[in-house]
Subunit: 485 residues, 2 copies
């Protein structure tokens, strides 16, 4: 691997940043991204570059990068494309190691832009710099409180998922699925036109990154398929790689061409090759986002046998259908396991898998039932489904009803019930090394730590389907690794 690419470390762990295009004009990216960088809490030095201002947003500004009286690790560019080359010369003269070119107006605009982009890459390479973009939405590394990117005032917490995407919007949505579930990210990059650093390079970088436990990548096209697949193969040897391909159909490929100028790649062939290289291929943004998040803090299932515990009969039916349709096995339970369960469950329990708790509000039997299934040795994973009304609705304080009855204790009682049952379940999973997939609308708040703790609590799935899909993906990855190891 090109040792210059080691300079990506300067992009994600910079001690100081120059911002070429810094401004206070409200709707300009030169303001909004600099604002994200400052308010995100980055603790290194920030040097705005703007020849027309003494200060920008309260920080001393400099006419050019050359004029900055200290070392600079990373430069962010938001100036118009025709000004980028000049600024790049300054960076190289200054010995800067990494740049993020937010600026659009390169290859995606046709021939003239492509020429400009070729010069950009050549200059950067000769000068020993790595360049992210151009035409990208920036990068993020919450461990360093580093948010020089477009999503406005959006600061996801630190965690274990690494992202690389050839679309900034899809990057945000992929991250959103993890963040909404209380998980965080290690490093994320919107790779844009990939003039210099390419998806394959980022995969290698994230594969080597000890803070990254799983990688997810949105890909519209790759230029060198053979080298790309080699990178995928190396990465999947050490951690899971989840792939979403944009441009699977004629209409999609045509849209991709005008988006990033990506080469047309046949979706089916590409997906088959990725799968053969050990990647997990997904088909929607939600599926990619949740599948990646499902690997964090969870042991792999060592097979496809699943035990389903459900707080509602219908959910068990839907889950049994989904698991079967996906190639998982809803195992029959042994007489011994059934009789152990019978001791726990009410008289009217109908024995079988799914195990329908039919338990009304007795949440305390959930953990012992999970334990019986995990210890039985009859299954490779346990799924627990408990989905009620949607999360968004807070319990209405019912003390204000006009019949003068004070019921406000009901909400509190339910909250306490919901909290109690989950105590100790994580320990159980890690002791027995049987993964648990919980799908619930019960609100389980992540710890409030301002995003600076690693988020390793396992994902709670928002739907039965997403839990089934995640287990299937993890079982496939286990099979791939077992065949290789």
């Amino acid at each position: 691997m090109d040792t210059r690419l080691n300079n990506l470390d300067y992009a994600f762990n910079p001690r100081s940043i120059a911002f070429v295009g810094a401004t206070e004009t409200l709707r300009k990216w030169g303001f909004l991204i600099l604002n994200n960088l400052i308010t995100g809490g980055y603790e290194g030095e920030i040097y705005p570059v703007n020849p027309n201002r003494e200060t920008v947003l309260g920080l001393r500004a400099y006419p050019s990068v050359r004029d900055i009286p200290a070392e600079v690790d990373l430069v962010i560019f938001t100036v118009p494309s025709r000004q980028v080359l000049g600024a790049l010369d300054d960076c190289i003269a200054k010995g800067v190691k990494a740049g993020v070119v937010i600026t659009a107006g390169f290859k995606e605009l046709g021939e003239e832009g492509a020429e400009l982009e070729a010069v950009l890459v050549r200059k950067g390479r000769e000068g020993g710099m790595v360049l992210i973009g151009p035409n990208c939405q920036g990068i993020c590394c919450p461990g360093n409180r580093l948010y020089p990117w477009m999503p406005i005032l959006f600061y996801p917490p630190r965690g274990r998922i690494g992202y690389v995407a050839q679309s900034g919007n899809i990057l945000n949505m992929l991250i959103g699925h993890a963040v909404n579930a209380g998980l965080g990210i290690s490093k994320a990059v919107s790779s844009g036109n990939e003039a210099d650093v390419k998806t394959g390079d980022y995969l290698s970088y994230l594969a080597d990154d000890p803070d990254t436990e799983v990688i997810v990548s949105y890909i519209e096209g790759v230029n060198d398929g053979r080298s790309f697949l080699e990178r995928v193969r190396s990465a999947t040897r050490v951690k899971p790689v989840v792939v979403l391909k944009g441009g699977r159909t004629r209409a999609g490929v045509s849209a991709a061409r005008s988006h990033t100028g990506a080469m047309a790649v046949s979706g089916r062939l590409f997906e088959a090759a990725c799968r053969q290289a050990g990647a997990i291929v997904t088909y929607s943004i939600e599926e990619a986002g949740l599948t990646a998040a499902s690997f964090v803090g969870r042991p792999l299932p060592r097979g496809r046998r699943v035990g389903i515990i459900t707080g509602g009969g219908g959910l068990g039916v839907i889950a049994a259908d989904f698991c079967t349709e996906m190639g998982l096995e809803v195992v029959d339970l042994s007489p011994r396991t059934l009789s152990e369960l019978e001791k726990m469950l009410p008289d009217w329990w109908v024995p079988g898998n799914p195990v329908d708790l039919v338990a009304g509000l007795d949440f305390m039997i959930i953990k012992p039932v999970i334990e019986i299934l995990m210890k039985s040795g009859e299954m490779d994973a346990v799924m627990f489904l408990w989905i009620g009304p949607p999360r968004r609705l807070e319990y209405k304080d019912s003390s204000d009803n006009d019949r003068g009855v004070n019921m406000s204790g009901v909400g509190k009682m339910m909250d306490q019930l919901f909290r109690d049952f989950s105590v100790g379940i994580d320990e159980l999973v890690h002791e027995l090394q049987v993964p648990l997939y919980v799908a619930t609308s019960i609100r389980i708040e992540p710890p409030d730590d301002d995003g600076q703790t690693d988020r390793v609590q396992p994902l709670i799935f928002p739907s039965v389907e997403s839990a089934c899909r995640a287990m299937h993906a993890m079982a496939e990855y286990y099979e791939y690794r077992s065949a290789r190891d």
Copy 2:
């Protein structure tokens, strides 16, 4: 149709309700459901029935239904199964027209329970009562602030979607997808064992109900397939019916048998028959919930041609793929339409469908672009995609950063931009009768009216995929209706 079934009106529009099993014991359904009924704001008379108490929750209690000194339209039963028959005799003697039997312990428990259930049905029919359940989670009709059901302190708003489900949990989740999107419900029923009133009966009732614009039904089994399909056919002649089948696989059918004691029905055959009868067949809870909600307040697309407008290139790629894979047509735009768009869009716009706005923060061009596409006559529906960071994260007030820079205006600016662009778009859709499918994470708050206004604003889709699926379902329904009319 059995005219006795007209008595369902007494269930959904009761002037007075008796509650057999009323209690103040905190974890009992006889408390929790009565509590829901009271705190939900029902304005008719409520008569708790409990032979051991003078009052329950501040309301005068009666030893039996016979002792209530006024007319009773509806009775809710939460007493143990062996006590239901006696209470039913009282109801019949009193001339009650409708009952909801929450109580479990009937057919789902085997032979003895099935006998009890048969007696229940015979008595009810002879007495001229309709019985909902047993073994159900109750009903709801927000137009009457009627919430005698299990979901605790959950009061969805009034709206245009009718629900009938053979699983209470799945009912809640189906409703959740509409409620989370700001829509409401007309009537909902958890049909339980369907001893007396069956899914087909509810479909007929909801088909005749002027407050219901679309019906969605979760079905594990039906007893009389021919009659059921006739009901589906009649219903789909007047409004869309969305169906989700539980028990499509061997494991699913087996789970369904122990859940509601439903007859095994082959999933594939059942789904094909439903489709032939004009129903929209769906494959997940989210798909069923969102597809049903998508019909509300939206004209049908008169074909499969779609124009896609996107705030991000990657979203356009994903949407073009999905639409194509689903059998929709991402049409090529005529030179005339392209040149009209060129006048609106920046110089660096790459002409084509999807129309990538590449517009930074200029939200005001969105409406004119939608208008050009709708007026072109070149497409049957328009899709608009604008998805940023997840909704749940509020804008952090950035005035507290330690560099002393006050940025709190940024969040407000974004909020205003987001709000402005949507003004007038609804009028456009209804004037031109071209449906618009918006997928966005922009938070659009429903009007705060305590749930008593009909929610007819169209659904905002939470994902690109759900918008594509909804358009496909609506186009299929249009084709079905056109072939019939």
